[in-house]
């Protein structure tokens, strides 16, 4: 019998807030795109609402599904993800957009397979590293298989090509490798080797090289390679401290590419300003990551610890890459902002991740910090909910 206690309330609140806020911002940012593509202002928004509803339902059921039961599914899951990743290249099944093949499916129903890959890889690595135990420090037992696995996945993902997702995946995998107790020499060898491989790849493909040059010097070609980042920076700049007001973005009128998906952060910055972005996007994401890492720290077993860490790093690292790219701090890549960007697959899979994390948070070994997770504010929270100390009340009385 699994021992469940109350879930982490911060995780629930930040997840719900981010989903709700994401819908709100999609409703504003997608108007122009939606009208041009379908003739209706709200088509994209309505689709996103449907996906959010599906995501919330899945989130609710996943948080009730014991995360230990993912262990036997780990290998199968990764296998399916790799097959899907290959299927992208089958003509007629795979779809391409923006120069890369990332989707499979037909008509309006498409699946971005890299999202499936991220989730299944995290589950698989958590399972795999746990099974290694102390052999995780070995060269032949862990290091080489790990490098081979990452090389295979890297090859498939880069072939799409999707450098941004590769950055997210390698960040997650490295963090999990480190947390599992990797030999530091091996760990840094992977990092250096990976960097060199990435450098060689950028040198070899003109499309990637152009992106890097654009990152180093955006003004070089403002109407060509530097167009996207220039428009994003214009959006952020015109937003200033307080923003132009909700719904008042001008860049979403076809100036900014991907305004409601990968670039939604620029639209939020333009409409709500630096303060709005900090309070409504970065703060909730930071809370999510903070509580996620806490869950990892207090998880009851190694599988739970690595799984919670991987899922948290996924959300946190992907958000960092997206926000960094839009604000010109990192080379521009196409990864969505978790919870917020328009896109069904991303939202649903991020909700699955949040659900699994929430399930782990119900099985942690609680410490003093869980007794009163809201501090002084907890009094108000408990007045309304009857819940004290993050624990369910066995008998509520007046």
């Amino acid at each position: 019998m699994r021992r469940y206690h109350a879930p982490d309330p911060w995780l629930i609140l930040s997840t719900l807030f981010l989903v709700g806020f994401g819908l709100l911002m999609v409703s504003s940012a997608s108007v122009v795109e939606s009208y041009q593509a379908t003739g209706s202002n709200t088509h994209y928004f309505v689709r996103q609402v449907v996906f959010a509803a599906i995501g919330l339902v899945i989130w609710f059921f996943i948080q009730r599904f014991d995360y230990h039961k993912f262990r036997p599914l780990a290998t199968l899951g990764l296998g399916i993800a790799l097959v899907l990743l290959l299927a992208v290249f089958i003509p007629g099944l795979g779809f391409s957009a923006g120069g890369s093949r990332r989707w499979i499916g037909a008509g309006d129903l498409t699946l971005q397979v890299t999202e499936v890959l991220k989730l299944s890889l995290i589950i698989y690595l958590a399972y795999w590293f746990e099974r290694k135990g102390s052999r995780v420090r070995g060269l032949y037992t862990t290091f080489l298989p790990f490098v081979v696995l990452m090389a295979v996945i890297g090859f498939l993902v880069i072939a799409e090509p999707d450098m941004g997702t590769m950055a997210v995946i390698s960040g997650i995998a490295l963090a999990m490798y480190f947390a599992a107790g990797a030999n530091l020499t091996h760990f840094f060898t992977v990092i250096i080797g990976g960097t060199l491989a990435a450098w060689a790849l950028i040198k070899a493909t003109p499309y990637q090289a152009a992106r890097l040059l654009t990152f180093l010097n955006p003004e070089r070609d403002p109407l060509g390679a530097g167009y996207h980042i220039t428009q994003a920076l214009i959006a952020l700049g015109s937003g200033g401290l307080f923003g132009l007001g909700f719904g008042h973005s001008r860049q979403k009128f076809d100036f900014l590419p991907e305004a409601s998906s990968d670039s939604i952060f620029a639209v939020i910055g333009e409409e709500l300003g630096l303060i709005g972005v900090a309070l409504l996007v970065i703060l909730p994401l930071a809370i999510f990551v903070w509580r996620g890492l806490r869950v990892a720290k207090n998880a009851p077993d190694v599988f739970g610890r690595l799984l919670a860490l991987g899922l948290t790093i996924w959300i946190g690292w992907q958000a960092t890459i997206n926000i960094g790219a839009i604000s010109g701090l990192l080379p521009l890549t196409g990864v969505p902002l978790p919870f917020i960007s328009q896109g069904g697959t991303s939202l649903v899979f991020v909700m699955i991740a949040a659900g699994v994390l929430l399930n782990i948070s119900r099985q942690t070994i609680q410490d003093k910090g869980d007794e009163d997770p809201f501090g002084w504010w907890g009094n108000i929270w408990s007045r309304f909910t009857g819940i004290v100390g993050g624990a369910g009340n066995p008998k509520r009385r007046a």
Partner: protein, 461 residues
């Protein structure tokens, strides 16, 4: 036949408790009818003489229930099932069924603390007694299975006194009164052959709290769905405890400290450190929490609890360390009479061990026990008793890699278990079943084990 009104009291079941009832009734000037399914020839002559002295009439043997409808009041021993057809019929005719417990509850002027649950009743009861003794204005008495028969206490009790009682589900079955402080430990399926179904078993236990008032207390675990459901249903003040959850009110553990949140004010106070507990094992942690919660509710100061708890001695045959030979320890857990208790015992032993297991198996599920035996820490399993065949079958079916052998008696079993360890570890007697095939009872089994260990140690030294 039964003409004198005095005769119309019957005592059903003439075991230990039945005889106590007879004595109590005799002291009140009532000579009653004794009923038992054992025929006159089966009784030892001495016991039969005593019974004859105590009763007006003895209805023994095959048709012992034939005349039960003529009686007015029948005191039933807890061992006799309530759903015998004759008993049912008599109840319908208006015969009142009562029990020793019922009289005690009705006549007792002291505050009663009643403890029930599947496992750990005795440990909890004695710990409660230990914590309360001398800390409260009145006197504290220990009654029930491990203390004095409750009726003997009756004349001594006053309003300020406390009685700590261990109540089995059979005693609770027809009790129409509830104790002032009811303690409900983990409820899991045991005694299934008697109680027909788990639901009925639960219903039997429910008498513990059903007749409580708003002023009474119910102390129960928040970790099990069954006891949680019970707390929702009770009218009394329900105080939960938990080994892994943080509770808004009640007793729980966080960062190695046992914390009490006041029932009304929810104020937090640390009662004691977890290391201070004198009991081994996870299941004993629950018992200790229940006992501490009871003491707090009864009005013992937290400082007193933390002071006294270190001096508590664990009970006999309950994970009792009975001897050592070189680097081998011998642990007696003869009272682990269910698979669940045996699993708990195996989990409690920190190092490598060999297990002596077996007895008369009931219908319990032993899958989890088999799983627990398939642990790298378990170096060998020795099977004793009637359940040997069943164990062999299930161990084989589950493809368990742990070596196992059967032993004809306990002595060879101990020797085999000792050999499995190759000089280091723990020999654990955790039979998982009742003992009636080879021993008088679980205590007898534990005593024999102790004796064998003592002889073995002497022999080898």
């Amino acid at each position: 036949m039964v003409t004198n009104p005095v005769y119309r009291v019957g005592v059903l079941g003439l075991g230990r408790e039945g005889i106590n009832t007879l004595k109590f009734l005799g002291a009140a000037g009532i000579k009653s009818v004794g009923l038992d399914s054992k025929s006159a020839t089966e009784w030892p002559a001495k016991d039969l003489r005593q019974l004859k002295r105590l009763t007006a009439e003895l209805w023994l043997g095959r048709n012992y229930l034939a005349g039960i409808g003529e009686l007015d009041i029948v005191f039933r021993s807890p061992g006799v099932p309530l759903d015998l057809p004759e008993v049912k019929k008599a109840r319908r005719r208006g015969v009142v069924f009562s029990s020793l417990m019922q009289i005690f509850f009705e006549l007792c002027s002291a505050q009663i603390i009643g403890v029930t649950g599947t496992k750990g009743k005795s440990t909890t009861v004695s710990l409660i007694y230990h914590l309360l003794k001398g800390r409260l204005p009145g006197k504290v008495y220990l009654g029930g299975n491990i203390g004095v028969p409750p009726l003997k206490l009756l004349s001594r009790l006053t309003k300020r006194d406390w009685v700590v009682l261990e109540l089995s589900s059979f005693q609770l079955e027809d009790l129409a009164v509830s104790p002032a402080i009811a303690v409900l430990l983990d409820v899991s399926p045991e005694h299934l052959d008697r109680h027909k179904s788990f639901k009925k078993y639960l219903e039997a236990k429910s008498n513990l709290y059903l007749h409580q008032t708003k002023k009474d207390w119910l102390i129960a675990s928040a970790d099990h769905s069954v006891t949680r459901a019970v707390m929702h249903r009770a009218k009394s003040r329900a105080l939960p405890y938990s080994t892994y959850k943080i509770l808004p009110r009640g007793l729980y553990i966080v960062d190695g400290e046992i914390v009490y949140r006041h029932y009304q004010t929810k104020r937090r106070s640390v009662v004691l450190k977890r290391e201070q507990l004198p009991l081994l094992g996870e299941h004993n942690l629950e018992n200790a929490l229940a006992a501490i919660a009871t003491a707090l509710v009864a009005g013992v100061k937290p400082q007193m609890i933390s002071k006294r708890i270190g001096r508590f001695k664990p009970l006999k045959h309950r994970l009792e360390l009975v001897g050592g030979l070189g680097r081998v320890r011998f642990v007696d857990d003869s009272l682990a009479t269910t698979p669940i208790a045996a699993i708990a015992a195996i989990k409690t032993i920190p190092d490598q061990l060999s297990v002596i297991i077996g007895g008369v198996s009931k219908r319990e599920n032993i899958n989890e026990l088999i799983h627990a035996l398939n642990d790298s820490r378990v170096l060998g399993v020795v099977l004793i008793g009637k359940s040997t065949a069943r164990f062999k079958r299930e161990l084989k079916a589950a493809k368990v890699t742990t070596p196992y052998r059967s032993a004809p008696d306990l002595k060879t079993a101990v020797e085999l278990a000792y050999k499995y360890l190759r000089g280091e570890g723990t020999v654990l007697l955790a039979p998982a079943f009742a003992s009636f095939d080879m021993f008088k009872d679980a205590y007898d089994r534990g005593d024999k084990f102790k004796q064998i260990v003592r002889e073995l140690v002497k022999q080898k030294l």
